[in-house]
Amino acid sequence: MFTESMVKFAWLFSARDITLRKFRSLLTILAISIGVASFVSLRLVSIGVHIKVTEEVNQLINADLIVYGEGVCDVPQFVEQLLRAIPHVAKTTSIVMVRGWIESNRGKYFANIIGCDAKSLKEFFNVSLVAGRGFKEGESNVVIVHEDVANSIRATLGKNVIVKPYVMMKGGKGYTAEVIGISKASASIGGFSFFTYCIIPLKDAQELVGSEGYVTYIFIKVSDKEFIGSIKKDIKRLFPKALVTEQKEITKVINRIVNTITGLMVALTLIGVVVAFFAVANTIMMNVREHIRDIGILKAIGARKSYVLLMFLLEAFLLSVVGGLIGVILGILGSYALRELLPQIGVSFIVPIVLDPFTLATGFLLSIGVGILASLYPSWRASLISPIEALKYE
């Protein structure tokens, strides 16, 4: 349709336009790059949050498979022995986990109440303590409190707190325990922790929810990750009613929540992209207006409609390529700046910045897409201008 030299000439025309109108081109490029930059930086940060949260969950719950029932606490504890007999199962532990809260004389705070035995405290929960110690075998009425919770209810080591599950034995008064350890705060955004918890000995937890001999979860560690699938099948065969989840599925669920929040933020940045759209449309419209006579000349000496269209689309393309590149670079820098800002709005962790190629490519393509789309209508209008009218235009 177009020969190589035709395209080169159209290219020359557009490039001269940009260099002859530096200031205007610069402003347009800025509009595009800011739109792209805001998109790229927010997406990079949300990917960082995603990675961090996954890391955090993996660190906290160190189990390959989790077996549980349909109720809150309805897995018979003897099942653990049977599961341990399955080939390639390395370690197992029984866990009680219910939603509840911790009370002190200074207030109360929601937390997941986790009951586990002393041994699995180390093996299955990578709890790092900022103060105090873990509990020993046979110890009772002790609790390890999550840092955020401890700060909020002013629970210090040696102080007594009351742990209360939502679902409690009839007439239960909760569980009074001495704070013996405070664990490090995990990922939280805006004061909302994904996983605030307190840990008490398993037996105490079972008593507390009134279900001795039953647990909420049985955590399994396998000897080799490649057997996860087959072990899962074996469990399903032995206990058809049991629910089995792999750890990565849990992180998936948590990440879905994180994604909803970050997705919303990224959606907001699209406003910037819309602004870029109008900036490009405006520039091309002004360009067309300035070049009406040129369009007349071009048509008079034999340029086809499609060639005029090509010329103006090429200009938008050029602007958006430059704007896109600058935008991606600004976006990367912006993501680092944003990371420094995040602690001030209540994000408790340092977000790792990973230069996700998909995000960078999306940002770049977004700018080109916006550039071409925005210039389509003004360029098309330009191609329709009648040469006689155009040549009369002053």
């Binding site: 006579r293 000349i297 000496i301 034999g302 340029a303 060639y307």
Partner: protein
């Protein structure tokens, strides 16, 4: 007898502007032969630009037939017309109409590139020779804004000749340049026609150009004549008819000035001496218009 390049048969053109119609061309019949330098003389509004645009396929006639180099252009699509304009027609306009984003050389290369027949290197080579032809090869890297009107027009001529068209159409080629540049341009046209047999059709209202033509035609109100028609006097008459109206307009303007003066005197915006001078001037104007003061 040489080949017929352009043939117009009963070409009619009507512009519709809102409620009334303008008959720009009325049954024009015309033949332009190869090697001719045809001049069409006419005042502005006589339909000469419309005629040129129709021959150049920029405009379509309302009725009649246009045959350009053996091709009936009435049936052609827009893209086919673009091709004809590129290969068979060269345009030279009154206002040079070079593209300012391009240098002189690139402007001359443009029709060659648009034809699709040349690589950039070939187009450049040919364009340099074309510029040499019009004596501007030294200015080939200048942009139009860095050249005089006469130089620009010669670049435009080089551009018009680029694809070796069957005919070069010119609309007031000397209308916007000084006398010296005009002489240069005219001798260039004359030389290209006499020596190389390029066919030209020039429309103008400048009688000097008529001197170089191999044939001269006259156009008035959309009709072609072989001799200059004597219709210029009707326009003078028209002015006499509207004399009363013009006088009344002058009187009404005087009234407005007088009102303004009165207001300024009453509000103290103007001092006495100035006001008196002003009044005297207005009195004189009124007397000139035949009002007894």
């Amino acid at each position: 007898m040489s080949r017929v390049i352009v043939k117009l048969e009963d070409v009619y053109k009507v512009y519709r502007i809102r409620s009334y119609e303008v008959h720009a061309l009325k049954n024009v019949n015309l033949e332009v032969r190869e090697g001719e330098l045809l001049i069409i003389m006419g005042p502005s509004g006589s339909g000469k630009s419309t005629l040129l645009n129709i021959i150049g396929t920029l405009d379509r006639p309302t009725g009649g037939r246009v045959i350009l180099d053996g091709v009936d252009i009435m049936q052609l699509s827009e893209d086919e017309l673009s091709y004809i304009r590129c290969k068979k027609v060269g345009f030279v306009f009154q206002f040079f109409n070079l593209i300012n984003n391009f240098t002189a050389l690139e402007n001359v290369m443009l029709p060659l590139v648009l034809s699709g027949d040349y690589t950039l290197k070939e187009a450049k080579e040919k364009a340099i020779e074309l510029l040499r032809l019009v004596g501007l090869e030294r200015f080939m890297n200048n942009r139009p804004s860095q050249m005089s009107g006469g130089q620009q027009q010669r670049v435009a001529i080089a551009r018009a000749l680029a694809n070796d068209p069957s005919i070069v159409l010119m609309d007031e080629p000397t209308g916007n340049v000084d006398v010296e540049a005009a002489t240069k341009i005219l001798s260039l046209i004359n030389w290209l026609n006499k020596t190389y047999g390029h066919t030209f059709l020039v429309v103008t209202h400048n009688p000097d150009i008529a001197a170089i033509g191999t044939r001269v035609l006259y156009i008035r109100d959309g009709i072609l004549y072989k001799e200059p028609p004597k219709s210029a006097f009707s326009r003078v008459k028209l002015l006499e008819e509207s004399a009363d109206e013009v006088r009344n307009a002058y009187l009404r303007m005087l009234m407005v000035e007088l009102t303004s003066l009165k207001r300024r005197v009453l509000t103290g915006k103007i001092d006495y001496k100035e006001a008196r001078d002003m009044l005297k001037r207005l009195e004189k104007k009124a007397r000139d218009l035949g009002v007894v003061v």
